[in-house]
């Protein structure tokens, strides 16, 4: 019964935020498992990511360069896309937003985080739902910080808690079409995306990177720093036939950092 469960031949998968980190690993894995992959990103790593996926899997992904917070840009960019069976929405933005720091840039970061992580996810979902057949899959990248939070991360924690709320509501709405909607909650992954803030906390508090990192690592049941490829299984599971009756759920791939 399970031998074909993890093949995605003939399926169209769109990975938003797929040019680096977790998104890139997920896009690559879907290509290896037979899916027709489209990678959407707005950084200069897109070309290189597409070539790497093509080299490894023998399938050349379609590329879309687009800023998901630009409503018109997004509408136009997705126009040529046909059916999407699997949407992985992974695009995100992370900065520290200390409440007590009066600098103007903190407020701009807060707004940008909400804009990319929540509004961007909403816009993409709205566009894709219209071209998703019954039985489709929507998978968001949330975070362990969608369930708890640390100091100076109020912007990011707001956005990821919010994303999970949105996911739960969408799962209720799209169930009639047998579209499942779920979220993967990665722990701290060894990517520039996350390491940036850890470095900043280390600088500001005069502690070492490892010392700050240990705040998280000490919470993990399984030790060590997660790599982007470690998270991929969660997405493959939600997209697969194995998860056909799983909807409105969060799956923590965090080595036991947060236990709900």
């Amino acid at each position: 019964m399970f031998e074909k469960a993890l093949r995605f031949d003939g399926k169209n998968a769109l990975v938003v935020g797929g040019s680096s980190g977790i998104g890139f690993e997920v896009a690559k894995e879907f290509a290896l498992l037979g899916a027709e992959v489209t990678v959407l990103a707005n950084d200069d790593l897109l070309d290189e990511a597409a070539s790497a996926i093509s080299r490894v899997s023998g399938r050349t992904p379609r590329q879309i360069f687009c800023d998901i917070t630009d409503r018109e840009d997004l509408r136009g960019a997705l126009e040529p896309l046909g059916n999407v069976d699997i949407l992985v929405h992974n695009a995100g933005f992370e900065r520290l937003t200390p409440l007590l720091d009066d600098d103007r840039s903190v407020e701009e970061s807060f707004r940008r985080i909400i804009d990319v992580n929540l509004m961007g996810a909403y816009y993409v979902t709205r566009e894709i739902v219209a071209r998703m057949p019954d039985g489709g899959r929507i998978i968001y990248t949330a975070s362990t910080y969608s369930k708890y939070a640390i100091s100076r991360m109020s912007g990011y924690a707001s956005s990821k808690h919010g994303l999970v709320g949105m996911m739960r509501s969408f799962s209720q709405e799209l169930g009639a079409r047998r579209i499942t909607v779920n979220a993967v909650c990665p722990g701290w992954v060894n990517t520039e995306f996350s390491n940036r803030s850890v470095r900043k906390i280390a600088e500001e508090t005069g502690r070492s990177f490892e010392d700050v990192g240990n705040d998280v690592w000490s919470l993990q049941a399984i030790e060590g720093h997660l790599e982007a490829r470690d998270i991929v299984g969660g997405y493959i599971f939600f997209a697969s036939d194995l998860a056909r009756d799983v909807s409105g759920q969060t799956l923590h791939v965090d080595r036991g950092e947060y236990q709900s």
Partner: protein, 260 residues
């Protein structure tokens, strides 16, 4: 109440969205408890609400017309009020936003909900915090939909989950300064906004309002639709010294609708 007396004489309480619904219930409770009360709300109905609260006669009540997404006005109001002991972030917008409604209007409503409920709450908190010393308390109105979801309210549900994430992060951040931060999560309450949502659900589902309401009431451990006064007491408790060791929590007042 019990023999424990709760009295806010000499304490300044700033409440947003205090002229109607749950906010007016909270205002009434704090006015009765002798607080020096500042109501920050949209102009419509504010003067009348302040006059009615003033007639309770126990405390001084001042109204400040303000759209909390207007940063300049928020800072002006915060500066006028000065030192604040208790901040209650209650202002919020709740409107239905079905994902399959393709209108630009629905998208504009989605953005507005995120803007008021998340960014507005952030702007008020940041501005007021400059004038809050050790012993201060911050309470946010979240919702049972900050922990659970129904379909067609994705924007509101995302924003309420986000309020809880925000609270969790700033509770960590402000704990060392002796400031407590918590969320109140009301269930269904008989307010204008709540009843409007019920009407919209009834229209969308083509079912009578009474049926939908009966279905919701059936999920509560205790029967009956709550009134604003029913939920207001939890705010009073969380602001009181009785709750001096309670921070970082999201507490339901929902007659046992959502157990978690």
């Amino acid at each position: 109440m019990s023999e424990i007396t709760i009295d806010f004489s000499g304490q300044t309480v700033l409440l947003t969205g205090g002229s109607t619904g749950i906010g007016y219930g909270i205002a009434t409770a704090f006015a009765k408890a002798n607080a020096d009360l500042h109501i920050v709300a949209l102009e419509e109905g504010l003067e009348d609400a302040v006059a009615r609260l003033d007639r309770i006669g126990a405390s001084k009540v001042t109204g400040h017309a303000c759209d909390i997404t207007d940063k300049a006005r928020v800072e002006e109001v915060a500066a006028t009020i000065g030192a604040v002991d208790v901040l209650i972030n209650n202002a919020g917008l709740e409107i239905i936003t079905p994902i399959d409604d393709p209108s630009d209007e629905t998208e504009a409503i989605f953005r507005r909900i995120i803007d008021i409920n998340i960014v507005g709450t952030y702007l008020v908190t940041r501005a007021v915090l400059r004038n809050m010393s050790a012993g201060g308390r911050i309470i946010l109105t979240a919702s049972v939909w900050g922990k659970s979801a129904i379909g067609e309210f994705s924007a509101y549900i995302a924003s309420k989950h986000a309020n809880i994430g925000f609270m969790r992060s700033i509770a960590r951040e402000l704990g060392p300064r002796g400031i407590r931060v918590n969320c109140v999560c009301p269930g269904w309450v008989q307010t204008g906004a709540g009843m409007k949502s019920l009407r919209n659900m009834s229209l969308r589902q083509e079912r009578p309002e009474e049926d939908i309401l009966a279905e919701v009431m059936a999920t509560q451990c205790m029967p009956g639709l709550q009134q604003p006064d029913d939920v207001a007491d939890l705010y009073v408790f969380l602001a009181s010294s009785q709750a001096r060791n309670i921070t970082g929590q999201a507490i339901n007042v929902d007659r046992g609708e959502f157990l978690g």
